[in-house]
Symmetry: C2
Subunit: 241 residues, 2 copies
Amino acid sequence: MTEVEFLAEYDPAAYERPALAVDLVLLGLRDGRLTALLLKREQFPHAGRWGLPGGFVGIDQPIDAAALHVLSEKAGLAGMHLEQLYTFGALDRDPRMRIVSVAYLALLPESAFSEALERSSSLLAATIEVPWSGEAGGPVSALSPKGETLPLAFDHADILAMAILRLRGKLDYSDVGFAFLPEQFTLRQLQDVHEAVLDTTLNKPAFRRRMLDRGWLAPTGLREAGTSFRPAELYRFQRSR
Amino acid sequence: MTEVEFLAEYDPAAYERPALAVDLVLLGLRDGRLTALLLKREQFPHAGRWGLPGGFVGIDQPIDAAALHVLSEKAGLAGMHLEQLYTFGALDRDPRMRIVSVAYLALLPESAFSEALERSSSLLAATIEVPWSGEAGGPVSALSPKGETLPLAFDHADILAMAILRLRGKLDYSDVGFAFLPEQFTLRQLQDVHEAVLDTTLNKPAFRRRMLDRGWLAPTGLREAGTSFRPAELYRFQRSR
DNA sequence: TTGCCTTATATGCTCAATGCATCTAACTAA
DNA sequence: TTAGTTAGATGCATTGAGCATATAAGGCAA
């Protein structure tokens, strides 16, 4: 029996199928640290552990739509940009049954991050601890606001790690960094975003020049208020070029 | 009913599940052009069109294992490095039923590419035409060895495009380029790989310095043979640094 | 044997981008 | 008015890339 014949006679409906789910990595910045929104699991399996917001993909639902649905249901957010990260399909990743999960990443500005925390009281803002530097990779850990290590459910430490990896990789050649910021922001805020994501300190003049030369920043003519020192110019992100 | 209650009562086995498949983008270099291995579809749907080698994911099979299985069954290859690309889950991507497909990318050296073509006579080496430059994105087209445009099945033009996009993005900061080359190769061959993938011409002295400074190239002391001009030094790829 | 042709390899120059130190500007608070 | 703090600008050295060009090493033909 050749492979062609095999496939011709293959009736996938006759075979058991894995369940398909989505998991969302919702990242924001709190106190200059990368922070993710986690949910405490109340039910078996992994009850008491912390997991990413997730849900199953309906048979008549595009995967992206399932991710947006979870974003809305579990975080009360709409219209955020979601980027597909990676698909996790190890056999034992869920003890109940075979579940394949497509992970998505969303970057939230402070306003959306706080909004989600308000709308869903079961969400927790967990600081992400990255025990490796650069793009080495490996699992990460999550800390509660009090600094306690949170036990993570399933393979969610790996999913979070993949999110950090992707984010670091894209940060300096794409415009993803702006997703963390409000409509108007200062160059210092933008640098804080980069420093938090990359977990380094950056050279200020060099960073300024690089960003300004990129043509993505439109000065608003406005300045920040409420500082006890020289107020910084407010910029707006403009796509273009 | 809260989301928590909903999930607690949710029995995924009670819902119909999408079928899960893998599709493989097998890329090589022929005559300085990016080339993919395609299969002519004999059956409905899309009979007569050309598609990527693919297969379903078994309920007791990790996704990576399913991809390796397809690699072995459809291309007669083993032990190649496979990288997960993206998961395609549009509702209408397959007219038979809902199929979600996890796409994988493998880069083949000339030897493995030819081996696959010999082992499976139904495979075709299709030249990939990329109608956009840089990392702009958009679907690509495939040409037969005679230069005729091949009609592609399903969303496989998009999957191929994603492969090119990923490849171009990773080429100059990672070691993926070496995957196209044999054990020993010249700097000119390495440059040819980069020029084919990026679809540009590169500056030779600059390219040489960049590659040599990277510490990935170990001179073998040997030189290529059979040229009617000065033979080039043969290098070997060594990881680390 | 001797040029000649072709490609490999090396080198020098210029320019652009970056790291770094430092200078000036603008605001508050005392 | 002055001290303190951060924003923003500028000069200099280093690095890396683009580019032209020089030299090296093979085959080949006269």
